[in-house]
Each structure stands twice: as structure tokens, then as C-alpha cells.
């Protein structure tokens, strides 16, 4: 049942604040369908759905293939470059899909760097084009797959590490090949982790706008924007957004349902140290190449091209650039701090109140991740102006157009990260511990402070850094909600790239990538220490 106490009040308050903009979007479903909706239904909805579906399927395939594959190799074998790949495989996390999309067109277009180099080497005229066109679904799948697979890699890697070596040994002793042991023992054990990773990849793919727009692929998100901007019909756009949100909701539901069926049974004390199998030279090289491919495509290639652009213009650090760096850091850290705090309290509340309702509410709050930023921004703007109108009539405009809106959008959009990490952090230690503390007379606040918070510290730490790296990339909501004269790195990168002035986009784009690198260092630490969790 729902226990009303000070902890659950935080949850309810968070729920309401999150719900208002989301509810505003869903309410569009009840306002009747316009002519435009039927037009979309008749002519383009099927295409949007098919494209989104293919995109999702392709992206998940790449993400699982490379994410799980590399995590398995790095966890079980010793081969050339393994120590690098262990953290190097996370590098593409720093590259947002839209920046990889910009880079891909910059390299592979008919007039791109790759074609130019080959033409220059062989002295060929401009009609010769060597690389296939990537401004299509295939290109988008590659872009999403290779920027988002680290989500799957990260969770799989931690999960592989937590599998007791004795399980694998038992399978081998019973005559299973390594491959069989992988498919029959390890894979089923890490399935919940893989699903959690897939859920993140899917939400990220479905709600992206920048990359699909750059490739001119009709999907749900581009359809939403087209309906709003071209048909001037925000209500229908929000109805499309609602459909998208429902899809994401179903996705999350299945993910949660399958996850709850599986119990983590590996206590660290039951774990025998896992021996890493040393591969012979040729097999080792194959493994190295397999691990190198995703890092190459998702990180080194774009960074090299961004540096190429940077050096093609005379870049000097001006105050405008520095201001956008500090703006970006300020808002993202503020959002990360508040988001983690809320996630900690709400998860704590659901746990101590043993409330299924509360955990379900928490799951629902993660939905914000899937809301296209621009639609979320509209919901927040309407919410804030209502508050301004009702509560602050006599004052100057107060919260509309202020930093609050921006930070709120960031928290709602990134809440899935702290929420997932903290709730799976909670899954790792038993409720019995709380009960013992309670029997011994500890008040709830003490349980949170002295037991949960220290145990969850790695999760909270990882979550806040993931939130920062996520927000640094966020674009559409920032464009709408930012206060006057408030440019972030993503905004200036977008402004240049939308004009295809790539050289000038390079400093901001590179900075986004560099800031995105910071969490990787800590995430790597998290992986290394995960055995001790």
C-alpha cells in the first residue's frame, strides 16, 4: 500500500512535477484528432513506423553484437590491447549521435574528406566517388549503433564480472565448450543487464532528432517536428509524440517485467576468482580487431575528423567560447546533483515502504528519457507560464524563461540514468539489512545516511557523471528553454552544423566530446571495482 510519510512525499512531489509536462503531452490525445492527424495516418504514419522500427532493430543488433561481444571477450580472455579496450570501448559514449552523423557526411559524402583524399592520390576528377552514400537508414543505423553500444557494453561488462568463475568452470568440467558455456551459462545470467542496456539504447534512438534530421530520414521524431513546423499543428505533433511515448512505455514495461523474473544470486563471497584465458597470437589478433572496430568507428574516426576541421580554421579561444563551456558545466552539474538526490530519496522511499506502487511510479518517471526534448520543453513552458500567471501575477515574469525550466527539462530527460543505476544498486543488497537496522532501532534517516548512501555511492557517482555527459549533448530542449544570451556548447555546435559550416562547429563539438570523456574515466573505475560492490 501507499504509505504516506515524509519520504513518499518527496516521491509524490517529484511525480507531480514530472507528470505535469508529460500529462500535458498525453492530454493532446483527448482533444480530438484534426484533419492533419488523418492525413498523417493515411500518408506517412506507416513509413514513420517502419523506418523507426528498422532503425531500432538495426541499432539494437549492432549495440548487442558489439556491446555483449566485446564485454565477453574483455571479461574472459587476455589478448593484445585488452587493458586499453576495457575502458576504450566506452569512448564512443562521449560522441553524441548527431555529431557522428555530421562527421560521417563530412567524411563520406561525394565531396567529403575520404573521397577527396582518394581523388587527390590518384589525380582523378570530381566525378569519381568511392564511398557509398550514408545519408540513409543504413548510415543512421551505423551512427546510432556505434555511438550507443557502450550502454550495452557497460552493463554487460559489470554483469560478466559479477558472474562467479565457478559457474563457468562447472560448465567446462561438464564438457561444454567455451562457446557453449557462453551461450548456456553466461548469457542467460547477464540477460537482465543486456535488457537494461537495450532499453537505454532504444529510448535514445527513438527520441533522437539531430542525426535523423541530418540524414533526412522520415521517422517519428522528424514527423513530430514536421507536423509542428510545417503543418503548424502542435496538437497533432503532440499526439504523435504521445504515440511514441506509449511505445517507449511498453518497451520499458517489458524490460522491467523480464528483469524482475531474474534474481541476482551471486554474492561476492561465493565468487571464485575468474581465470582469464590467454589466447594464442592469431586468435588474440582477431579479438583485438573485433574490439577495435567499434572504438574506431564510434570514437577515433570522428575525433580525427573534428581535429581535421579544427586545424582547417584558425581557432582561437575567445570569451564567447569560454562562456558557453562554463554555462554547459553549470547547468549540467546542477541537474545531475538534483536528479541523483531525487532518485535516491524516491528509491529509498519505495524500498522502506515496500511499496509496489511506489516502485511503479519510479519506473514511470524514467519515461522522461524518451520524450523528444522539444516537446518536453513546450510542456514545461506551458506549465511555468501557468504558475507565473496564477501565483506570480503581480510580479515581473519570474520562472518562465529562467534557468529553472532548463534544469527541470534536463532532470526529467536524464532521470532514467540515476533511477536505473540506484535501483539496480539497491537490488544488490538485501532488504534484510534494513530490517536488522530497524530492529536495532535505527531511524529511517540513519538507514539512508549510514547504510544505503555509502553502499550506493558508486552508483550515485556513476549516475551523476552519466547525467552530465548526457546533458552536455542535449540540444532541442536547450534551444527552446535557455534564458537570454545563454549559449551552451551543443547550441553553438548545432548552429554551425545546421549551416554545414563544419569547420566552425569543430571547437564546440570537440569540447562536447572531451567533456563526455570525463565520466568514462570514472565508469572504468566502476567496472574495475565492481567485484567489490
Amino acid at each position: 500500500m501507499f504509505n504516506l510519510n515524509s519520504w513518499s512525499i518527496v516521491l509524490i512531489a517529484t511525480f507531480i512535477i514530472f507528470l505535469v509536462p508529460i500529462g500535458f503531452i498525453f492530454s493532446s490525445l483527448f482533444s480530438g484528432f484534426s484533419e492533419n492527424f488523418y492525413h498523417i495516418y493515411e500518408y506517412v504514419l506507416i513509413e514513420y513506423s517502419i523506418n523507426s522500427f528498422i532503425l531500432l532493430l538495426g541499432t539494437i543488433s549492432i549495440a548487442v553484437f558489439f556491446g555483449v561481444g566485446t564485454a565477453y571477450l574483455v571479461s574472459n580472455y587476455k589478448f593484445f590491447g585488452k587493458d586499453f579496450f576495457e575502458w576504450g570501448l566506452l569512448l564512443p559514449l562521449a560522441v553524441p549521435p548527431y555529431i557522428l552523423a555530421y562527421v560521417f557526411t563530412g567524411i563520406f559524402d561525394s565531396y567529403g574528406s575520404a573521397n577527396n583524399i582518394i581523388r587527390d592520390v590518384f589525380g582523378l576528377p570530381n566525378e569519381y566517388i568511392f564511398f557509398p552514400n550514408l545519408r540513409n537508414l543504413t548510415g543512421a543505423i551505423i551512427v546510432f549503433g556505434f555511438t550507443l553500444y557502450p550502454y550495452v557494453y557497460l552493463v554487460s561488462r559489470v554483469a560478466f564480472k559479477n558472474i562467479s568463475g565457478s559457474l563457468n568452470d562447472a560448465a567446462r568440467v561438464l564438457g561444454q565448450t567455451r562457446l557453449n558455456a557462453f551461450f548456456k551459462v553466461q548469457l542467460p545470467l547477464i540477460r537482465p543487464a543486456i535488457f537494461a542496456g537495450i532499453a537505454l539504447v532504444a529510448m535514445e534512438t527513438l527520441s533522437d532528432f539531430g542525426a535523423v534530421e541530418h540524414f533526412a530520414i522520415p521517422t517519428f521524431t522528424t514527423g513530430i517536428f514536421r507536423t509542428w513546423y510545417g503543418l503548424y499543428d502542435l496538437d497533432t505533433a503532440m499526439q504523435l509524440a504521445s504515440i511514441l511515448l506509449l511505445l517507449i512505455f511498453i518497451f520499458i514495461y517489458f524490460e522491467r517485467a523480464s528483469r524482475s523474473k531474474i534474481r541476482y544470486s551471486n554474492k561476492s563471497d561465493a565468487m571464485s576468482p575468474k581465470k582469464e584465458h590467454i589466447l594464442d597470437f592469431s586468435k588474440g589478433i582477431v579479438c583485438s580487431i573485433f574490439c577495435l572496430v567499434p572504438v574506431m568507428i564510434g570514437f577515433f574516426l570522428p575525433v580525427a575528423e573534428l581535429f581535421n576541421w579544427l586545424f582547417q580554421q584558425n581557432f582561437e579561444i575567445d570569451s564567447k567560447y569560454l562562456v558557453s563551456v562554463s554555462n554547459t558545466l553549470m547547468v549540467s552539474f546542477a541537474a545531475a546533483f538534483i536528479g541523483c538526490f531525487l532518485a535516491l530519496i524516491t528509491n529509498f522511499s519505495a524500498r522502506i515502504n515496500k511499496s509496489k506502487t511506489q516502485s511503479n511510479i519510479n519506473v514511470f518517471l524514467s519515461l522522461g528519457y524518451g520524450i523528444p526534448g522539444l516537446i518536453l520543453a513546450v510542456g514545461i513552458t506551458k506549465f511555468f507560464t501557468t504558475v507565473d500567471d496564477v501565483l506570480l501575477v503581480d510580479f515581473e515574469l519570474f520562472i518562465t524563461g529562467s534557468m529553472f525550466g532548463l534544469i527541470m527539462a534536463y532532470i526529467i530527460k536524464s532521470y532514467a540514468l540515476p533511477n536505473n543505476l540506484i535501483s539496480s544498486g539497491y537490488n544488490k543488497f538485501s532488504v534484510a539489512m534494513d530490517e536488522s537496522a530497524e530492529i536495532l532501532g535505527a531511524p529511517k534517516r540513519k538507514i539512508l545516511q549510514k547504510i544505503h548512501a555509502p553502499l550506493l555511492r558508486p552508483s550515485i557517482f556513476a549516475a551523476s557523471l552519466l547525467v552530465v555527459s548526457e546533458i552536455v549533448k542535449e540540444l532541442p530542449a536547450t534551444l527552446v528553454l535557455r534564458p537570454f544570451n545563454f549559449d551552451t556548447l551543443a547550441v553553438s555546435a548545432y548552429i554551425f552544423a545546421s549551416e554545414e559550416r563544419m569547420f566552425e562547429a569543430a571547437p564546440s563539438a570537440l569540447s562536447i566530446v572531451l567533456i563526455g570523456l570525463i565520466p568514462i574515466f570514472f565508469l572504468n573505475k566502476l567496472i574495475r571495482e565492481s567485484k567489490e560492490l
Binding site: S110, Y111, A216, A377, T381, E500
Partner: protein, 342 residues
């Protein structure tokens, strides 16, 4: 004499002070994001002491923000790149009439809103770029937008996605001139003439022609200026030299022209600053800056286009009311959906 000096100084100071207290800033909502604009704002501040605050974003996003802000909106000026956007803002009642006689006297009637709710700041034409090696002079001579649907252009045309507002305005202008049915029949055949599925921005279309992926491209005039300026790098500069420009419909209604323009927002808290800002944008100084940096055409007759653009010659522009671009925009989008223009 000394007294006069003192009094003059005093009045100047109080004027400056009043200026500082009463009219220290102007808040601009813009969907243009050119560096050249930032330099313009700096010039304006230097000339007048009025601080310029900027919010940029797409027209529709800004409109939602304004709608939500209502009477409390701090916005003074709306500045955008598409006439459709302007007329939409005017229709929705977001703009108030501009009272400045100066503006009315220098900008011709057809480049202002029906009741002077907005004013054009610069012009751009949607023209045909062609590869002279692949397109004969006879083929391109007297080209019209309507001709582009003819079978002789089968699989030869590069144009960007129909989600782009420049294409939406072009099709809206065709609807305004030829009606929906005729335009739809035209669009059906036009789409078959695409050399590739629509992708990239206008510059990418010009590059496609330069690289032989298509024979002709439809794109805005100023892109070639940017490319020829060398700002996009050596490759774009060379590509730009391989293409030529043709202005469609010169024997009838003229080439489709879109505008950049601005209006004063209804609840502008700094109205007089807003007018001064628009007047400044229409000054010779600002116009010359725009012409030489964004390569648009000036709305003033005495300001010549940048030489990179001027070399393609002068042309007759379509007089179709730009307000129709906004009016027919949703029809244009639905029509393009129906014919499968992605």
C-alpha cells in the same frame, strides 16, 4: 560660450543617463543564427548604447514560447528568415504595427506586412544551379519552376527534403499561382526527376551538381556566395566555380524570392528600442554588412549585392504576396507528403 558648453554637456549627460535608465536594452527572438548578425548587434549597441539580448530557435519553437509567455513576454523584436514565419506570427496576432515613418519610406509596400506588422530586412532568391558541362544553353534558357517537372529532367535534379521551409515556401508560392491540383500534378512528376532521395542542405545540393551527382539543383542564392568566399574551405570554393546560376520564370512572374524580416512583438516592453533596432537594420551601414556577410540581397535599391552574387546578373522577382507562403504552407506540406517528396 563656456556656459553654453556646460549646458550642452549637462543635457547630453542627462540624455545619456535617461537613455541608460529608460532604454538600455532590446530583447530579440530570432531564428537567424549567423555570426554576421552578432556583429550587427554589436554595431547597434556601439551606435546607440542599447544592449541587445538574444534568444534564438526555430520560428515555431519561438512562437510557442511567446504564446506561453503571453503578456509577460520580455520579447521586443521577432527576426526570422522565412516570410511564411512572419505572416504566421502576424496572423496569430503576435506583432504590432510598426509606426516608424523612416521604415515606411525606405521599404516598398510589397516587402512589408499588410498593416506594417513586419518589414523585410534582406532578400534571397530560390534559383537553379546547373553544371554547364551537362546542361545545354538551350535546355536552361528561359527555365521555369513549372518546367522542372518535364520528362527531360528525369533523374537529373537535386533538391533537399520537403521538411525544409524554403521548399515549403516555394511550393506554397506555386499553389498561390497555379492552385493546389495543378501543383500536385506538377509535384508528382517533379519528384520522379530527383537524381537521389532528398538529403543535405542547400549547399549539399550545389556540391552534388559540382560532383556530377545531379545536373541541376534548386537552392537559395546566397549559398553560392558563401562558397565562393572560401569560408567553407578550398573544396567548396572549387566546387562553386564549376556551377552556374539560372533565374527561373524570367519571362513571366519572376523568380521565387523569400525574405529575412523582422517585426515588433505585441507586448514589447521596449518598443522604441525595437523600432530603432529595425531602423538600424535598414540603414545603409547594416545593409552593406548583411550583403557582404550573408550574401543576401539588400532591400534598399542603392545597396549593391556582393560581387560574388552580382556576377550572376540581376533578375525579375516574383511579386506573389509573401503572406501567401504562410497561408499555403500546411497545404504545401500535405501535398508533398501525398506525392512522396521526402
Amino acid at each position: 560660450m563656456k556656459n553654453l558648453d556646460k549646458r550642452f554637456l549637462l543635457s547630453l549627460m542627462s540624455l545619456l543617463l535617461a537613455n541608460f535608465i529608460l532604454s538600455s536594452e532590446v530583447n530579440i527572438y530570432t531564428s537567424r543564427h549567423y555570426d554576421a548578425d552578432d556583429e550587427l548587434y554589436e554595431k547597434f549597441t556601439k551606435n546607440t548604447g542599447i544592449k541587445v539580448n538574444i534568444i534564438s530557435g526555430s520560428g515555431s519553437a519561438l512562437m510557442e514560447r511567446l504564446k506561453a509567455e503571453g503578456k509577460n513576454s520580455p520579447g521586443d523584436v521577432f527576426f526570422t528568415v522565412d516570410a511564411g514565419n512572419l505572416s504566421r506570427f502576424q496572423k496569430e496576432g503576435f506583432l504590432q504595427a510598426i509606426s516608424s515613418q523612416k521604415i515606411k519610406s525606405i521599404v516598398p509596400k510589397e516587402l512589408r506586412g499588410p498593416n506594417d506588422e513586419w518589414v523585410a530586412i534582406a532578400k534571397r532568391a530560390r534559383v537553379v544551379f546547373y553544371n554547364p558541362d551537362k546542361v545545354s544553353p538551350e535546355e536552361i534558357k528561359n527555365i521555369t519552376y513549372e518546367d522542372l517537372a518535364s520528362d527531360k529532367w528525369r533523374k537529373r535534379i537535386a533538391i533537399r527534403s520537403s521538411s525544409n521551409m524554403y521548399n515549403q515556401s516555394l511550393v506554397a508560392s506555386l499553389i498561390s499561382n497555379n492552385g493546389i491540383e495543378e501543383t500536385e500534378a506538377w509535384a508528382k512528376r517533379f519528384v520522379r526527376n530527383f537524381a537521389r532521395s532528398p538529403q543535405g542542405n542547400d549547399r549539399a545540393q550545389i556540391l552534388a551538381v559540382a560532383n556530377g551527382l545531379a545536373d541541376i539543383a534548386i537552392a537559395n542564392s546566397y549559398y553560392i556566395g558563401v562558397m565562393l568566399s572560401g569560408r567553407g574551405g578550398q573544396e567548396q570554393y572549387e566546387a562553386a566555380q564549376r556551377v552556374r546560376v539560372a533565374f527561373p520564370n524570367q519571362l513571366n512572374r519572376g523568380t521565387h524570392v523569400n525574405i529575412s524580416g523582422g517585426g515588433i512583438l505585441k507586448y514589447a516592453p521596449n518598443k522604441s528600442n525595437a523600432e530603432r533596432f529595425l531602423e538600424f537594420l535598414l540603414s545603409e551601414e547594416a545593409q552593406k554588412h548583411i550583403v557582404n556577410n550573408t550574401f543576401e540581397y539588400s532591400v534598399l535599391n542603392n545597396v549593391e549585392p556582393n560581387s560574388a552574387i552580382a556576377q550572376f546578373g540581376s533578375f525579375i522577382s516574383d511579386q506573389t504576396s509573401v503572406a501567401d507562403f504562410g497561408k499555403f504552407n500546411p497545404d504545401a506540406v500535405r501535398l508533398m507528403d501525398r506525392v512522396g517528396w521526402r
